[in-house]
């Protein structure tokens, strides 16, 4: 039997850590150097789910931007879910994420997503205020503080999304 295959998009403003999160998840690697993504980079990763099933993630690491462009819109086709990435040390990337979520919904409908507040290792520069986050959690959104740098919650983030997509 063919393995279950899921397309997942990484969406968020530029330099929030989308590429880094995938590098951590797929290759257990991390680099401080910033190399912006132009277009999209596709990776895959097979994962054992908690229910015993296996799944192959097709990961679309999409160039960061505060809103969708004609190029990026075409990448979304067939996505089963997405990770909405925010740089916790840059408050405006949160607003971009909210905006992107609306635009994605318009393009491909209401797909499961998890919001990742990345760079959680940079506590001193943290700009996210708790109240806003709590409000979203109350609305039923999944939020996770992650760090591509030290690996915190990275695998958990993908598993969480897998869980949302399977229900």
């Amino acid at each position: 039997m063919a393995m279950l295959q899921k397309k997942i998009c990484m969406i968020g403003d530029f330099s929030v850590g989308k590429t880094s999160l995938i590098n951590r998840f797929v290759r257990e690697a991390y680099s401080e150097k910033y190399l912006t993504t132009v277009g999209v980079k596709i990776d895959t990763k097979e994962l054992d789910l908690t229910n015993g099933n296996k799944v192959k993630f097709i990961l679309w690491d999409i160039a960061g931007s505060e809103s969708l462009t004609t190029t990026t819109v075409s990448y979304l086709r067939g996505a089963a879910g997405f990770l909405l990435v925010v740089d916790g040390t840059r408050r405006p990337t949160w607003d971009s994420a909210l905006n992107l979520r609306q635009e994605v919904k318009k393009q491909i409908g209401d797909k499961p997503f998890v919001i990742l507040l990345n760079k959680a290792d940079l506590k001193e520069q943290w700009e996210m205020d708790k109240q806003v986050l709590e409000e979203k959690t109350k609305q039923g959104w999944k939020l996770l503080a992650t760090s591509a740098k030290n690996g915190m919650n990275v695998e958990e983030a993908f598993l969480e999304l897998a869980l949302l997509m399977s229900t």
Binding site: K7, Y34, V40, I42, T44, S74
Partner: protein, 508 residues
Amino acid sequence: MTNIPANVIEYIQSMWMAEMILTYLHIDKQGCLIDWGGYPQHYGLTTLVKDKSVVEQVDFLDGFLDVTHTEVLQYLNIGGNRCINAHIVPLDDGIYVLLFDVTDEHDRQQKMQQQVNELSILTYRQSQLLQELEATRITLSKEKQQLEQASKLKSDFIATLSHELRTPLTSIMGYTKLLDDAKQADEYESNYLKSVKKNANHLLSLIDNVLDQTKLEIGQIKLHPNNCNIKQLLTDLKVLFLPIAQEKGLLFDIIIPNNLPVQLIIDELRFRQILINLITNGIKYTDKGFVEVNITWQNERLEFIVTDSGPGISSESQQKIFTAFHRENTANHLPGVGLGLTISYHLVELMKGQLSVESSPQFGSNFTGFIVADSVQFANASNVQINHTNIKVLLVDDSIDLRSLIELYLENDGYTVMTAGDGQEAIKLALQTKPDIILMDMQMPILDGYNAVQQLRDKEFTKPIIALSGSNIEHDRDYAFKVGCDKYITKPIVPEDLLNVISKITKQ
């Protein structure tokens, strides 16, 4: 390329890319890979198998097999180090996926985007930093304001406290002097009296120093330069300190040069204060040897050097010696709070001069200073004893102690004295009895001195009024003159001075 349909070729030509080597995949309606051409391995598609599901082999095609019209995926990186544009073209016999190498264009675009993004992050961090700086600045300036306010409150409090302390001291000192003058005390009583006098004097100088320091801190000390008989001042100091030095077995002298003008225009009170501070210190710290003051006059500069043979001051301490509340380690057993030198230092500065110290443990200390002063021609003024019996003095003070004390002095000197306990009573009495001079306490219940004077002047009372005040704050002094006082005397009152002033004013 023979088995590519003509319309596909046409499509390629329409893109003006016909000269490129084409890589393509052909997929049937069921999603199976039928055929391919060109170099798919350049883009990471190394293990293609015919007649097998394409989405299991070419990941990015998952979700694109149901396209109804041509879809273009730009700048696709599917592994390997090349970048492609993928054109997904649905046709009757399945789907053609055309792959164009756009690595060069991607790299150019990437370089540009990199710069834009990095600049944008830099700008953001900079603006955050500026905001933080601004917030810090606001916090600091608020804190500074609070500190300044607290410091002003402290200074005001100390000033008020010092005035409050001065008033009762006046009466203590006055009565002590009266008792002493009576000379009827036995030996014990006389010793007790001496002790009371000494301690009251010490207390007064402490209060004065604290008050002066406070006023220096809040910039309230102004000089009142006037004609000063400088030779007399120096001689007085010599007379004052000689017995004190002798008591400790020290030699003491003030050496006055011949070229010293008889009169200089200086703030006599403050200059005296400077020398008293320096000489007092010299005598205090010196146990053996001498204390000597050398005066020189040159180019409108009055220079003074106070030399002692005391224990000297370490070079470390010399740097701090003019700071408030600094005290020498050797001084722990001696009275004082460490303000004298600071005050002197600032007073000298106010007089456009300088004060410095030189010292070594073997040779004692040298305090050298100068002030700038104008000299004036000596005006010959002789004091003529006159009869005061016909002069009516109205003495106004709410303190009964002080009132009876001054009354005693005045009557001793022959004046006719009337007294009042507050401003209201004073106005009534003044208008009824028409005194030749009024001595008016400024701080009184019911109606204070300032208001009383103002009302009297409004009611055309023209005779001189002397303000007696516990406050030597500049502002209070100015205000007293503003409401119509002719003279301002601060407590504690030195009887001789008061009598002199009254005598001078009534003579005019």
